[in-house]
Symmetry: C2
Subunit: 251 residues, 2 copies
């Protein structure tokens, strides 16, 4: 998760494959790709260790082994470079999440993995996603941005789990998926921050994480057994009653 070459190499390979000209591994295109990867990697290192405000373009250039001006041939400005780092982060996060989720069977274990994986990655490269708000000039701009699309792609992993969970009855209720999504990721981000602060004193990070994730996933999946008891049927009735009641109340 630390080094990007996997992602960059992959992208470069795709690009080469698309262009019909067979280029040797040291063609100009390849070198440019490689260098872009090096810059993003360097920028990530600096941003993670010194935060956005604490890293200068000169630091990134030195770390990447290029001149200051070179950065501007790859990214319009410091903000765009930071957005590039975030985009890269989301790409890696999406891929590793989907792979991990595919290896789990039940709705609960999928969500459990996703939550822990998210927490781990975000805490690992803490500061990367936290740059986002400061980089968002306006919501309308953000809505059309690359980062927004990649974020949507990432959370789609969660959305799919929820929809499948609904289909097989694991997830009760009929709330909008977006509501569950906000609760899931919002709670994880806040919980992650609390976790880090608490682990400054007591190193009991793992137990704390388990408590948070269990509670959160439990809230979504529900603890109801799968036996079709009278209680379950009553529950379903209550669900429907509540839904129509809400409609009445809203008008």
């Amino acid at each position: 998760m630390a080094s990007e070459p996997a992602e960059t190499t992959q992208a470069a390979a795709d690009f080469d494959a698309m262009s019909s000209s067979k280029t040797s591994p040291s063609t100009r295109q390849t070198r440019v790709r490689r260098r872009e990867g090096a810059i993003i990697s360097a920028a990530r290192n600096m941003f993670v260790t010194h935060r956005y405000a604490g890293t200068t373009m000169a630091m990134i250039a030195r770390e990447a082994g290029v001149a200051d001006g070179t950065l501007y041939t790859y990214f319009e400005n410091k903000d765009a470079l930071a957005r590039g780092v975030i985009s890269d982060f989301y790409k890696r996060l999406t891929e590793s999440s989907q792979i991990g989720v595919d290896g789990k069977r039940t709705t609960r274990t999928k969500l459990d993995f996703l939550a822990r994986h998210h927490l781990g990655c975000v805490m690992d490269e803490r500061g990367i996603i936290e740059m986002l708000p400061a980089l968002t000039t306006s919501l309308t701009d953000y809505a059309g941005s690359e980062v927004y699309k990649l974020n949507k792609t990432y959370v789609a992993v969660f959305d799919r789990i929820v929809r499948e969970g609904r289909a097989c009855g694991d997830i009760p209720g009929d709330a909008d998926v977006s509501v569950l999504r906000d609760i899931f990721y919002g709670a994880l981000d806040y919980g992650g921050k609390s976790l880090m602060m608490r682990s400054l004193r007591s190193g009991a990070r793992k137990a704390d994480m388990t408590r948070l994730v269990d509670r959160l996933v439990g809230m979504i999946v529900g603890t109801s057994s799968h036996t079709k008891s009278v209680a379950d049927r009553l529950e379903a009735v209550a669900d429907r009653l509540e839904a129509s009641l809400k409609q009445v109340e809203d008008t």
Copy 2:
């Protein structure tokens, strides 16, 4: 460390209270405090409309009607000024929240109000709290900061509701309060962002907010399927249904 705004204000207040001399409303202390208020207010306006990166110290000085250098007699630097704005925000938020909550009777209505109030305030002065991550140099520093203490004071409003709710049986489970707190505020912040983005297209902000808050509060209070007994739940639904129908009939 030391974000001094609150520091200074508090110190000044203490000083006045201690000195037996009755100072007229145009004493030096008073004027200083007034000016500090003007600076914080000016800074808030600029930060809200232009974000942190987009506002210059010169802009704030002009808005506050003082010279550039004057800002630095009140705040160590731009970061400290921003922290002062955040501190001020938390103070107002805490007070208005507590007042509102005190006006509600049940656990559910208290949480419902708190959630809506939080969402409203944060969306209203959006960008203020979002500055925080960028201003946090290190977690250890933050743990001892004024802003952190004020945040703790603010979320204590929530903590109290939860504890009372537990005591009277409204809130089931024995999860750590901190977990519920992270879920509550995390979900609200994320949900708030989603809300704003969605309301760019469809102006259905109110209905969306209701859905989010209901689901979230329901998860905590336990009207949801897995926490309360079915009998209790049906009873509660019947109560609400009767009340709503009465309202409908009256109109």
